[in-house]
């Protein structure tokens, strides 16, 4: 648990932990990458502050697992909302070695 103000991406990610779990539960059968995505989101949400290299690596995984944050054809609103949110988180994540918190 951090004692300093959390970076913006962490606040953005906290509700997405639930949305990712929901998408994994509901759509994981037909889109197995969503189960892995939920695990990556949970790991990132609960990660230690200051672990720049791990944050950068997990941010890259988010992009890989979502195909560049592009929902599949016919995906529901929850998937769109999740991918949009994760794209914002990935953009806010510091590059390795550059994180403030």
């Amino acid at each position: 648990m951090t004692t300093t103000a959390s970076p913006v991406w962490r606040d953005q990610l906290a509700p997405l932990r639930y949305l990712a779990a929901k998408v994994a539960r509901v759509h994981g059968g037909s889109h197995p990458a969503m189960a892995t995505l939920a695990e990556v989101v949970a790991t990132l949400a609960d990660s230690q502050a200051g672990d720049h290299a791990a944050h950068a690596a997990l941010g890259r995984r988010l992009g890989e697992l979502t195909g560049g944050f592009r929902p599949w054809s016919g995906a529901c609103a929850s998937v769109h909302q999740l991918f949009l949110g994760l794209a914002a988180v990935a953009a806010a994540l510091p590059a390795a070695g550059a994180e403030q918190a």
């Binding site: 648990m1 639930y18 779990a21 539960r25 059968g29």
Partner: protein
């Protein structure tokens, strides 16, 4: 506490149902109550943690009262009352919701006035009331409801919950409230309800796209 309802099985939280969804939400409300209790201790000593108290009140107003009690009062309770006119237990639960709203108002007023001792009193009253209320629902009312509701009614109730959670409140609001509850848990050393896999499954079981209408998609 032994009661005449002990012969009824406990709420089956391995299955998504009209009552298990609400029992899952109870665990989050209990998480916030534990944080609120810690805030009351600090407030009683003259140190009112205003920002955290505001966050707790937002979750209690929006998640506990509007969403959770809304599902109970507008959907589950009427379904039970339709089967047993004059059904007593739901009347008691409704009255306790009203009592809780008065205590939320009292906490809000104390917070606005900076009244640490008044806030502590109202917060303790609310914590005691809601813990007992949740106990009655989980141990008595929901056990009865589980027996009363058939599969079709259960599915219709879940569909109505979905309307409240997704159409009225929006996924964004629901999950934002859970995130605030988790931040408070971290601050006050309280366990997160969602760290329990079964609870996480219940909190995320129903999708606005309606693919999640059935018992847990595994």
């Amino acid at each position: 506490m032994p009661s005449c309802h002990d012969h009824l099985p406990p709420v089956d939280c391995d299955r998504v149902s009209a009552v298990s969804i609400l029992s899952g939400e109870h665990r989050v409300i209990l998480q916030v109550l534990a944080a609120l209790e810690a805030m009351a201790v600090r407030s009683a000593a003259g140190d009112l943690p205003a920002a955290d108290a505001r966050d707790a009140l937002e979750v209690l107003r929006t998640f506990a009262d509007k969403c959770h009690h809304g599902k109970e009062e507008d959907i589950l309770f009427p379904a039970l009352e339709a089967q047993v006119p004059g059904f007593g237990p739901t009347q008691v639960m409704r009255a306790e919701h009203v009592e809780g709203r008065a205590l939320i108002r009292a906490m809000g007023e104390a917070l606005a006035a900076g009244g640490a001792a008044t806030f502590a009193d109202a917060a303790r009253g609310y914590v005691d009331l809601l813990r007992a209320h949740i106990g009655k629902e989980d141990d008595i009312l929901f056990r009865i409801a589980q027996e009363m509701l058939g599969p079709e009614q259960d599915a219709a109730i879940l569909d109505a919950y979905r309307r409240i959670e997704h159409d009225d409140m929006g996924d964004g609001t629901h999950f934002r409230m859970l995130a605030i509850a988790d931040r408070l848990a971290g601050t006050y050393g309280v366990a997160r309800a969602s760290d329990d896999a079964q609870t996480m499954a219940l909190l995320t079981a129903v999708c606005g796209c309606r693919h999640g209408a059935n018992p847990i998609h595994a």
